[in-house]
């Protein structure tokens, strides 16, 4: 726990003097000021710790394995370095722009259309950076597709309908070789492809989705794989039977 760990550490108040400490609590109290700030800054899971500049823009995110006072200090240091890089990029330095762009994408600084425009303006992007940026852009494209699923929905059937609709679009992305690079995004991406493929009895999509989940993320999504594998096997059998007839 962060609260009983780093935030309660004897060294934390000293760190607190170097920064402005802000706590945001999502409460589900209707009409409360800044209630949606967590989702607005791109938060997807609690707890979430970020560094922000005085304008409230996110300049760094604390990684789970660094949840110590030293890790918090490192976060603020990295945030400062990111701010300097951003300033350099804003002045038009192509190298700085290439270095800044994937970092800014991860921090949620760009919407898809803006990102595409920025990307188009970069020159001589090295292959490795290009691969990372392409993966991040695919993640952004997926985020747009998943937008209808991001708000609370009371009706389970409606949730399923939206998941299937999203999964169909994500399958189109996969076929166009636009696959999110971040692990969490990729899991969501392929899981939704499987959900839509099951509904549509789309064997190639089902096989592809499940095979990637097994090969790349096996133990993390074991329950999902165990649940879907028999469905895929049955679907294959049915197809074979149809062929025989």
């Amino acid at each position: 726990m962060l609260e009983s760990g780093a935030l309660s550490d004897d060294g934390f108040p000293e760190f607190g003097k170097e920064v402005v400490l802000f706590i945001h609590i999502t409460t589900q109290i209707e009409g409360r000021k800044d209630e949606k700030l967590f989702s607005e800054i791109g938060g997807t899971g609690f707890p979430h710790v970020v560094a922000m500049n005085p304008a409230g823009k996110v300049i760094g995110e604390l990684h789970w394995e660094k949840r110590t006072v030293d890790g918090c200090r490192e976060l603020m240091k990295d945030g400062k370095a990111f701010t300097e890089l951003m300033a350099k990029a804003e002045k038009g330095d192509n190298g700085a722009r290439i270095e800044y762009f994937p970092k800014a994408l991860k921090l949620g600084h760009f919407k898809l259309a803006e990102a595409k425009t920025y990307y188009a303006g970069l020159k001589n992007v090295p292959a490795e950076a290009k691969k990372e940026i392409d993966g991040l852009l695919a993640g952004l494209e997926m985020k747009d597709i998943l937008a209808p699923l991001s708000r609370p929905i009371m009706d389970r059937a409606k949730v399923k309908e939206l998941q299937v609709a999203a999964g169909r679009k994500l399958w189109e992305m996969e076929q166009g070789s636009r696959v999110p690079g971040e692990e969490d995004d990729a899991i969501t991406f392929y899981a939704l492809i499987v959900i839509a493929a099951e509904e549509d009895k789309n064997l190639p999509a089902f096989e592809r989705g499940l095979s990637v989940l097994k090969d790349r993320f096996g133990s993390k999504v074991k329950r999902f794989i165990d649940q879907k594998q028999p469905v895929l096997d049955k679907l294959k059998e049915e197809k074979e039977e149809k062929k025989d007839k």
Partner: protein
């Protein structure tokens, strides 16, 4: 915070058929917030709970903001 994000995704995707939230009991939510604000870790140093105040303080003091996002409701 990757592991928790994964957990959130897992919950959203792999629980039966999606994420269904119960209607929030507003009175209970307010009590939950009060309880959260009484947390021991908040007594050890000075935290700002208002975003505008945090930004104004950061600007005035020439510092960046360390922002901790949590929640007071249970799932």
């Amino acid at each position: 915070m990757t592991p928790l994000r994964s957990a959130a995704i897992a919950l959203a995707l792999f629980a039966a058929s999606g994420d269904v939230l119960a209607q929030a009991d507003q009175e209970q939510m307010k009590k939950n917030l009060e309880k959260k604000l009484e947390s021991e870790f908040l007594k050890k140093t000075t935290w700002t709970t208002d975003f505008d105040e945090a930004k104004a303080a950061a600007k005035k003091q020439g510092k960046n903001i360390f922002a901790y996002f949590t929640r007071s409701y249970a799932r």
